[in-house]
Symmetry: C2
Subunit: 464 residues, 2 copies
């Protein structure tokens, strides 16, 4: 690349479009928001600290508590109106000593496999578990095989995420039942353990953890469940075809403890006109324990704090009360989101708008809105303001897990999620490679600026 | 991220839009193209080989020649109609032994600086060069200081790329004069050397090379020019403020040789209806020597080869002759692009369309078209077909360096460039970290599919 392929033309078209269709002042303020985030932002430095000085933040861990303290202190330094901790009891599950596993094709002939316990799994029996393996693609195939084939064996779920789906969330949605309910389903047929192909579109050696549930399975029938890397899954599958009677050994040392005290961290700029109407922006402070949770969801937390910082920095005084919430325990319980909503209900705090960033700190493409047609039409008329930033893809769709309960409780009608580019997300999601170096400073900052801008518009113009 | 935020709604909206506005068959074929590239693609594997088995490919180097052979062989294996080498003489500049540099604040007190010679620079004198440093932001400031201040010193250009420009190409365009003409300008005032802040938006330790020119400066007045990493530039600037009389030492061992023989590599599927009308898609095979040129522009090469492979794979027989061209010597001479155009002129090969991918292998966002209003309007009516892939940003603008000469020669009227997301590009551009691991498989493949799809449409429907 040598010649300058400059889209000056594009920019001038956009500017014209804006001046015709929306308030010139809005485009000026939004430019100020982007300039501030990109040239004088705090989000990247905050994330650096969270990722590299604190690290992973699974609910109930020391990391989670350090992150509560850190984000509280940082918001206090912003000089905003109010910062506090909202107590919430959270589950505590620990991985314990590192997992160990191998594939035995004949006595003494083994090869290692990259696994990790799924979040919430029981441990293997003392000394580990070794058994024959049955590979299936889905629960229907499992049922077809039945107890006769399954009993006493390890079920290996190996249905890959679908490569040709453009939005990778859809590919995740089409495969994650194996992880979430695989153990529950396999236990019905007498399986002794479960191996799940990692929820990843990459072929690599990282096992990806994530939440699983035993449903109503009685405690004594719960079987250990692990994820295997995609490379490991491919290898196991090929080896099984060559030697169907191979044995798989794994040992995992995870444990569920009684619930412990933790907190949502909340910062607030009180509204100048409607202090009792709320706009919330958030991400979740907890992360899985394998990486440092930079994309999931350190990014969403620091972007949400940046919203308040940028408003302070540019001197914007919101009409409504704006809160940034670092939700605790999205990954394995959603207790923080549920607690925030129930407290909102108890105090009758109606939320005009709730926005979550929990799809990684990648280049933002737009937002998806869970809104009525009337509200969506109003919001969509502003997309031209986001065109110069290439973040003008406003669509109807889902929002974020932590803000869902607000709607359920009737305390919010319009929810939204930031939609970043999704191609790389599942390369890192819930795995040891979700680390700070995978986040690009500008991409993170563009997301924070987009979030600040949409909140600015909703605060200013309101919704129905 | 746990809950499934699925944009099913979005997809169904898009599908409806398509069926109303364009041929259903087109959307089916385009889906087939994307499916093929994403689930059965060759581009990533090709790039792996080029990057990890061949490596950097500066014009005249062994790597460049190996890449000529490799891409020719791979295209021959596709079973397309014709594959050949188009001879072109190219410049040969070599870096020689690694550069060395330090900052001396008092005799014996030094700190190392990360530099690299700019492409085309002369070497430092035997034993290296040590001199005082004058920092400037631009040529105007240089002129203001004049010979009195500049003579006998090293000029340090330290104007950063502008952080708040959203399209990073624009930030590059606003800063690259320092690199390209800095030595020529500084020599006019008797400077003995030039240090240029790297063309990067990241703060890191990588110096970024790139083409520079001495213009009409006589040979004996040419001064050595190097790039310094952004961290190094910041450090040097701060240190200069504390100690304006510090000395900068650098040694570089680069050399320009006589031109050598090289080649453009061309593969062709001959048109079934208009064999003498051409559509060309390309990238440049040469790269700078510091990294392995994965983004710049291995990506564009393998994507262009993938266009032909996908057409063969899905059995599409183009009306016009489709060529994939691996242009040689874009980085420091553009000889390949010029040669291709002059040969097209000589043989009267009119090109309906020319497309280049030379902005990195990141998630594609759309294309920019250098086209008449009538042709742009026609092309833009197809953007809805690219909406399901989120690649529907069709704008007017520049194309690519290698295909520019085709237009100059009057052998093409419509040019285009693939526009990938630009946020990460200048983190790697021309630096040692432009390596294979920075390329995401899906992002690369989406680009190849988008290129194949736009060529399919133009081949089918034609342009004016």
């Amino acid at each position: 690349m040598k010649k300058l392929v400059i889209s000056i033309l594009l920019i001038s078209i956009s500017t014209t479009g804006i001046s015709q269709k929306v308030n010139k002042k809005d485009s000026t303020i939004i430019k100020q928001i982007f300039d501030t985030s990109l040239t004088d932002g705090a989000s990247y430095e905050w994330l650096d600290y969270m990722s590299n000085n604190i690290g992973s933040r699974l609910s109930g861990s020391l990391g989670a508590e350090l992150a509560v303290t850190f984000t509280k202190e940082q918001m206090e330094e912003l000089g905003i109106d109010k910062v506090w901790l909202q107590p919430v009891m959270v589950p505590k599950w620990t991985r314990g000593a590192q997992e160990y596993s191998y594939i035995e094709t004949s006595p003494g002939v083994t090869s290692l496999a990259d696994i990790c316990a799924l979040g919430g799994s029981v441990p293997t029996p003392y000394g580990g578990l070794k058994a024959a393996v049955v590979e299936v693609k889905n629960f229907e195939e499992l049922r077809g095989l039945g107890r006769e084939i399954i009993e006493g064996k390890i079920v290996f779920y190996n249905r890959p995420m679908q490569d040709n789906l453009i939005q990778t969330m859809n590919a995740y949605g089409g495969a994650v039942d194996q992880r979430y309910s695989g153990a529950e389903e396999a236990a019905k047929y007498g399986a002794v353990g479960v191996i799940v192909r990692s929820m990843s579109l990459s072929q690599d050696d990282f096992p990806h953890t994530g939440a699983m549930s035993y449903g109503n399975t009685p405690e004594h029938l719960r079987i250990p469940a692990c994820a295997i890397s995609t490379n490991g899954a491919n290898y196991l599958s090929v080896t099984l075809k060559l030697q169907p009677d191979l044995l798989f050994y794994f040992s995992q040392n995870c444990k569920t403890y009684p619930d412990v005290q933790s907190y949502n961290v909340i910062g607030e700029i009180t509204g100048s006109e409607n202090p009792n109407k709320f706009i919330v922006v958030g991400g979740h402070l907890d992360s899985w324990d394998l990486g440092d949770g930079s994309h999931d969801d350190g990014a969403g937390c620091v972007q949400s704090m940046e919203v308040l910082r940028v408003f302070k920095k540019i001197g914007y005084q919101p009409k409504n009360t704006i809160r940034a919430v670092m939700f605790m325990n999205e990954e394995n319980g959603l207790r923080g989101g549920i607690k925030y909503a129930s407290e909102a209900k108890r105090k009758n705090e109606y939320h005009v708008f709730a926005l979550e960033s929990d799809s990684g700190g990648f280049t933002p493409r737009g937002f998806s809105f869970d809104a009525s047609d009337a509200n969506f039409t109003k919001i969509k008329s502003w997309d031209i303001l986001f065109e110069p930033y290439l973040i003008n893809r406003f669509v109807k769709g889902g929002s974020g897990a932590d803000i869902g309960p607000l709607k359920k409780e009737g305390m919010a009608t319009v929810l939204a999620g930031l939609n970043p580019d999704s191609q790389r997300y599942f390369e890192y999601h819930h795995a040891a490679n979700d680390t700070f170096d995978k986040v690009n400073k500008r991409e993170l900052e563009l997301g924070a600026a987009a979030m600040t801008s949409i909140i600015y518009l909703i605060d200013k113009y309101g919704l129905q």
